[in-house]
């Protein structure tokens, strides 16, 4: 043996390339904001303006309205149906521009839209849905006149009871363009790529099957534009997503549907999904209705059969099994970062530290506020620890164990707004994963019928080709790009008020938060 010359290089160094990935050309997607109005002529509005036959077409209403509700198209004799979704309601009386009051003929009436009252729920009130639509349309927050509450919901718990304690004046003035909202996803320093994303969030796992291919592709292209990620979920990796490979996370989940070596080798991040916060301990399920021929082909299963992913992995019953599992995927893709997605049981801190020691780059804790309509109601919010407690607990435990700066902590489950993002980070997360909000940007009305194949009236969470065709990819992409732009603005605004140059400075600053249940400070600002 001694006579051998042993080069000092490691095996990795002498490789022509470190990976067997087949390269496909990556498509560029621009981040620019472009208006992307609703797909529907009559978007759901908060108010309804009714014009009666007394209208003499004098044009006074169009003259006073600052928001373009009343339009008389050139060459037309009658006014068009009022554009209700642009109306800010009776509050313009204050400025003296209230069309109802100004109409000389009393031809206009204004009332609250009964449909709006039915829209949403406590967690996702109608205001938040409409505001999200506006953001997705314009790329900016809705003008203040509309009075939408878009930072919080009305659930009476979770992030909705948390508020920031903003200083009266920023301690230092920082220009918006000097603020860094990027976060790093690899803190291990293990020689794997140091991936950074430009905004502290990425898109959550929604499979082809749970949502349409148009939805998946829109998410992926937006992720590409914003240099962040989207996740395939469990259920295969469409060939059509290949041009965005570098911004895709693929999931290894308990059913192993659609997971192949090749799909693992395509991506920079592989996510192990052990559980979902919306339904911990229940595995995954795609009901038979959604298992169309295309979905079945992708998953190589039988058409029309409900597909269940077990809980947990049949091959992982312990932490050292988990490490072995990670090692396996790390071996198949030697440049990939690993994310471990778990729900928030009472010992979530132990789970997080265990995952870290098993070699994960990202610990992703998923709380119970999220979940689309496909997650059973009995499970949502009712199992596991609320995410706002879990984040703090895990953050602190990781810090106590001395490994907080070697792992990226991502939180998810009910992140609906940029304020939720900031709150999660202030509680101790590095960043968040979003899910439902992207669907809302695409026009979701939160009717909660996601589990049914032809149930999605908006053609988002469907696998029915006809329904899916109600949306096109470019529009979908733009809506999500716009939403991200609006969110980033809000986030930058928050950081400016705290005088922080980087979003990383906000991490773990629970001192900047207050919980409305535990404070007498009624003057808490939003």
């Amino acid at each position: 043996m001694a006579s051998f010359s042993v080069p000092e290089k490691t095996i990795k160094d002498i490789l022509p390339e470190n990976t067997l990935k087949t390269i496909v050309p990556q498509e560029e997607v621009t981040r620019a904001v472009k208006t992307a109005p609703s797909r529907y002529r009559n978007e759901i509005a908060k108010f309804i303006v009714h014009r009666n036959l007394n209208c003499k077409r004098c044009g006074k209403c169009a003259e006073v309205c600052q928001y373009g509700v009343h339009v008389l198209k050139p060459g037309y004799k009658y006014f068009a149906e009022p554009k209700n979704h642009l109306c800010i309601g009776p509050s313009c009386e204050k400025t003296g521009n209230f069309c109802v009051a100004k109409c000389p003929n009393g031809a206009l009436q204004l009332k609250e839209n009964p449909l709006f009252k039915a829209l949403g729920d406590y967690r996702w009130p109608g205001d938040l849905i409409l505001a999200t639509w506006k953001m997705a349309e314009t790329g900016d927050v809705p003008p203040a006149e509309y009075g939408y509450e878009y930072n919080c919901g009305n659930s009476g718990g979770g992030f909705d009871r948390l508020r920031f304690k903003f200083p009266d004046k920023p301690p230092v003035k920082i220009d918006a363009d000097k603020i860094d909202t990027s976060i790093s996803l690899n803190k291990r320093g293990d020689g794997r790529p140091e991936i950074k994303i430009d905004v502290p969030w990425y898109g959550g796992g929604m499979s082809f099957g749970s949502v349409s291919n148009v939805t998946q592709l829109s998410k992926a292209r937006a992720a590409k534009a914003w240099n962040t990620f989207t996740c395939t979920g469990e259920g295969g990796y469409m060939e059509r997503m290949r041009p965005y490979d570098d911004h895709v996370i693929t999931q290894v989940a308990t059913g192993l549907f659609g997971v192949r070596e090749e799909t693992i080798q395509r991506v920079p991040i592989v996510e192990f999904k052990y559980a979902q916060g919306a339904k911990p301990g229940l595995g995954g399920h795609l009901l038979g209705d959604k298992n169309t021929p295309a979905v079945a082909k992708m998953r190589e299963a039988v058409v029309g059969i409900s597909l269940f992913s077990p809980f947990p992995f049949h091959s992982v019953y312990s932490i050292e099994d988990h490490q072995k599992h990670l090692d396996w995927i790390k071996h198949i893709n030697r440049r990939a970062l690993i994310s471990t997605k778990v729900s928030t049981p009472t010992d979530v801190d132990m789970v997080a530290v265990g995952s870290y020691s098993a070699g994960t780059h990202i610990v992703h804790i998923d709380g119970g506020y999220g979940g689309t309509g496909a997650a059973p109601d009995i499970a949502k919010k009712n199992i596991a620890m609320p995410i706002e407690y879990a984040i703090g607990r895990v953050h602190k435990f990781l810090a106590d164990e001395g490994v907080r700066d070697k792992v990226t902590l991502i939180a998810s489950g009910g992140i609906r707004s940029a304020h939720d993002v900031a709150k999660a980070i202030a509680l101790g997360a590095d960043g968040v994963v979003i899910g439902t909000v992207e669907l809302v940007a695409l026009g979701c009305v939160r009717c909660s019928r996601c589990e049914s194949g032809r149930g999605c009236p908006r053609g988002i969470a469907t696998t029915d080709p006809e329904l899916a065709a109600k949306m096109n990819i470019e529009w979908g992409t733009q809506r999500i790009i716009n939403l991200y732009n609006a969110w980033r603005k809000v986030l930058v605004g928050i950081l400016q008020r705290f005088g922080m140059k980087s979003v990383t400075e906000l991490r773990g600053r629970t001192d900047l938060l207050m919980h409305l249940d535990y404070t007498n400070d009624v003057g808490a600002k939003k």
Partner: protein
């Protein structure tokens, strides 16, 4: 045991706990994982260094934050006591986390209560930092040989009204309560933990550290300490900062040590059950609870071992129905009484016991009813006997390898390897090695299952004397030389194998060894290497009669010669002109990896020194070599390395990998085109998500085989463990010649077998000791087959119709048609080619040739599934490769 005494015992414990102010809070100290466990017993005492190697190999099942070992049955001279003291005194091992605690403890708990025959501080290495694998300084340990002072014992019996109890049992209980008090005062109730009892019992020792288990052997200098039984445990607690080894395994009860691989889901329920019986954990881990549970059932309730095992791992479902009526009645009562104390979730126990009153040692493994943790048993018979229980086969191999290096009478290949079927009616999910003196006064091992039935061992008993080189007369040598030499001219591997196969039973070991060496010598001619490898491989893979010679010893010879042959291949690190097809590479020369040159086709990887995973593992080297253009691989000398064949990506149809030795977990998981031949048993998680290709296993395969697989043709000579082919989709075609533990093809979703979908053929046969094919009593004893399946089919060779409706949960029996037979016939033909299991043999029942439709039965999913043929062009368009941006 009469009820009154049980009550009295329980009452005494209650009073003690109350006196010590024990908190009855139920909580758990830390989460921990499955961990690695190993245990072995030997008919002669063997030194501690042999627990070192298997422990080291199980590193990746722990994280260096907790390791422990236990030993039972010492040699009195080594401990400096007489035989009488060793047999009759209690050995008490106390760990001092605080050196100052010792005098206090002796004053309170030792001197006033015990007659101490001897007390010694355990010898240790001066500087703990010089011992690799230790995280913090291990505790100082004192060993006391004690008996309870008669007056103290009298007072104890009187105070607790234990007069009816056998005096020696009362003494056991005193020891037990004394340790409980000591722990309560110096460990459990204190924020600062100062000392605790490691073990208490006759002829038994437990040591633990914060670190890896093998560090104990070095630190406490017990390399040469001999014992009949050894167990070791590598722990993986999730809490990062651990400063003392109190929570590490093994855990002690009187005369026993227990290690545990798994994690209860019902820790709280079991703890509550114990609390109701006045038993209180102090270390707050589920392993301690397990030891307490076993101790309660055996020492307090005096249950026979069978009932203890039933209380822990209840017999359920069809297995219960298959018990005889009397047993059902008893088991029903046991379950009704103890189900709340039955650990739920994944667990596997290894227990070393000393049954002091019967002068008998025991080593046993018990698996949970659902068989969620891996477990392998093995036995080596002979002049020296060895019984082994491990979480993975590689640890068995490592142990035997280590033992055989010291003692040539022990063969590194065991006579028998097997799994237990948890909570089953046929073995009860547990096997017990009993060590006791035979009529000649020699310690011998017998192996029984839960029901006390002896486990049959191979009958061929003639051992090979490995301490001697083979010696033959020159005529004999010449004869064999000619025989082999001539056959190698013609160049048909199968013919050479068959020639040898037919004479092996007549040959002596020396003749066989000489013949194998001749084959190795033939391989020195580079053009004959492939042929020589083929012949030796067939001798390794195939089953044939070895006459009176032990088959395990024959295998050891063949494997040794194969290794020699591989080592003779020129190393890639040596520059020379060589026109053969093979090149050897090993860990030292891995940096010399290059493209194949000249005639080179096959890279031969000596896996021994490679890491089991990570950048320095042999599987990574294999991927690198593939990128460099190598397409054929031989991986030999494996000691549990993982991921072989993984990571090569799609379109690898031109790749073949042959694996020899102890292959590791996740082998072939993800293959997409390539062929892997495993020349021996395979471990756990084999063939997950495989897409395409071929996998041949010349032996048994472990847990969750082909989980989530999408395709590939797979052939298994032996058995699959629990949950094979679970969640499989697509088109896997699998032949399993043996049987499975349970849950075969649960949630199978592999389409329509007649339309490209997948299926499983289960033959339910095995080779007997003479190498003859025989049918198993039942092709599938498990309670669940094809549960919740929605696609595919299972073909079971079941001429006696032993499979019943009860075993199906979502499947139903369908008639086997001629079409079906045509479908499976090509796979059975391939199976015949690979293993020599002929279709003729499979179709012969009771010496009568039968129709396939009479021999095979078919299980299909109950859901009348729409099949994939419904696909339309739209599907293709929807999933088309062209990105469409509207």
């Amino acid at each position: 045991m009469n009820e009154k005494i049980i009550k009295q015992l329980a009452y005494s414990r209650k009073q003690l706990a109350e006196k010590l102010n024990h908190s009855s809070d139920i909580r758990k100290e830390a989460e921990e994982g499955g961990c690695g466990v190993v245990g072995f017993c030997c008919s002669e005492p063997v030194p501690g260094k042999h627990i070192y190697e298997p422990s080291r190999q199980m590193h990746n099942r722990g994280n260096g934050k907790g390791g422990g070992i236990a030993a039972v049955g010492f040699v009195p001279e080594q401990l400096g006591v007489s035989r009488e003291v060793l047999d009759n005194h209690y050995m008490l091992h106390v760990a001092f986390l605080d050196d100052k605690a010792q005098p206090e403890i002796e004053k309170q708990f030792i001197t006033p209560n015990f007659d101490v025959a001897k007390s010694t501080m355990l010898d240790k290495v001066d500087d703990w930092k010089t011992v690799p694998g230790l995280e913090v300084k291990p505790p100082d340990v004192c060993r006391y040989f004690v008996r309870v002072k008669p007056k103290v014992l009298d007072a104890f019996i009187a105070k607790n009204n234990l007069q009816a109890l056998d005096r020696s049992e009362a003494e056991d209980e005193f020891i037990n309560q004394n340790s409980f008090s000591l722990n309560q005062k110096y460990y459990a109730s204190l924020g600062e933990k100062r000392a605790f009892v490691l073990s208490h019992g006759h002829n038994i020792m437990i040591l633990k550290v914060v670190g890896f288990a093998e560090a104990i052997v070095k630190y406490y200098k017990i390399e040469d300490l001999c014992a009949y039984e050894w167990i070791a445990h590598q722990r993986f607690p999730t809490k990062g900062r651990v400063w003392h080894p109190g929570g590490a395994h093994p855990f002690a009860a009187i005369d026993m040590a227990l290690v545990h691989n798994g994690d209860f889901a019902n820790y709280h329920s079991v703890t509550e059950y114990l609390k109701q019986r006045n038993i209180y954990p102090q270390f707050l881990t589920d392993t301690e609870v397990s030891a307490l549970l076993f101790d309660l059932l055996s020492r307090t309730y005096h249950y026979p071992l069978e009932y203890i095992i039933e209380a822990l791992a209840p017999t359920t479902e069809l297995d219960f129905d298959r018990l005889d009526e009397e047993k059902q009645k008893i088991y029903r009562d046991i379950q009704a009484t103890h189900i709340h104390g039955s650990p739920d979730g994944p667990w596997f126990f290894i227990i070393a016991r000393n049954i002091a009153r019967e002068r008998k040692f025991q080593l046993m493994g018990i698996t949970d009813t659902a068989m969620l943790r891996p477990q392998v048993f093995a036995f080596c018979d002979g002049e020296v006997q060895v019984g082994l229980i491990c979480s993975e086969k590689q640890a068995i191999d490592a142990t035997l390898h280590s033992l055989s290096k010291d003692d040539k009478r022990i063969c590194p290949v065991a006579d028998k390897y097997w799994n237990a079927r948890g909570g089953s009616y046929n073995d009860g999910g547990s096997f017990i090695f009993n060590l006791e003196k035979d009529s000649a006064g020699k310690m011998r091992i017998s192996c029984t299952d839960k029901f006390g039935r002896a486990v049959p061992m191979p009958t061929a008993a003639e051992p090979c004397d490995f301490s001697q080189e083979p010696s033959l007369s020159s005529e004999d040598e010449e004869e064999i030389q000619t025989l082999i030499g001539e056959r190698f001219v013609s160049g048909n591997g199968m013919a050479i194998f068959e020639m040898i196969r037919d004479v092996v039973h007549e040959w002596t070991f020396d003749e066989f060894r000489f013949a194998c060496r001749q084959i190795v010598n033939q391989a020195k001619d580079p053009h004959k290497a492939t042929l020589a490898i083929e012949v030796l491989t067939l001798l390794n893979d195939r089953r044939y009669s070895t006459g009176s010679k032990k088959r395990s010893h024959i295998l050891h010879i063949v494997r040794g010669e194969l290794n020699l042959l591989f080592w003779n291949i020129p190393n890639i690190g040596v520059k020379n002109s060589y026109d053969g097809n093979h090149r050897l590479i090993d860990f030292e020369t891995r940096g010399n990896l290059r493209e194949p040159q000249a005639n080179e086709t096959t890279l031969v990887i000596d896996a021994a020194n490679f890491a089991p995973e990570g950048d320095d593992c042999d599987a990574a080297l294999l991927v690198d070599a593939y990128i460099k253009g190598w397409r054929r691989f031989i991986s030999f000398n494996c000691i549990g390395q993982r991921f072989i064949g993984c990571g090569l990506g799609p379109d690898t149809d031109d790749v073949t990998i042959d694996v020899y030795g102890s292959s590791g977990d996740y082998l072939a998981s993800g293959i997409d085109g390539l062929t892997i031949n495993v020349h021996g048993n395979a471990q756990d998680q084999v063939g997950q998500i495989t897409k395409r290709g071929k996998l041949v296993i010349h032996g048994d395969v472990g847990q969750t085989f082909m989980y989530g697989a999408k395709g590939a043709s797979v052939y298994v000579l032996g058995n699959a463990a629990g949950r094979p082919l679970i969640n499989s989709v697509g088109r896997p075609k699998v032949v399993i010649n043996g049987t499975c533990l349970d849950f075969l093809a649960e949630s199978f979703m592999a389409g329509d077998p007649h339309n490209g979908g997948g299926f499983v053929i289960l033959n339910g046969v095995k080779f007997d000791d003479e190498g003859k094919l025989v049918a198993l009593q039942q092709p599938y004893p498990g309670s669940n087959i094809f549960s919740l399946a929605s696609g595919g089919a299972i073909f079971v060779r079941d001429p006696n119709k032993t499979l019943v409706d009860q075993q199906l949960n979502g499947g139903f029996f369908a008639k086997v048609t001629d079409e079906d037979w045509e479908l499976i016939l090509p796979y059975l033909k391939e199976n015949e080619q690979l293993f020599g299991i002929t279709i003729e043999q499979l179709l012969t029942v009771n010496n009568e040739r039968c129709e396939p439709t009479e021999v095979y039965r078919k299980v299909v999913p109950a859901i009348a599934a729409k099949v994939v043929s419904e696909e339309t062009d739209d599907v293709e368009a929807e999933l088309s490769e062209e990105p469409i941006v509207k």
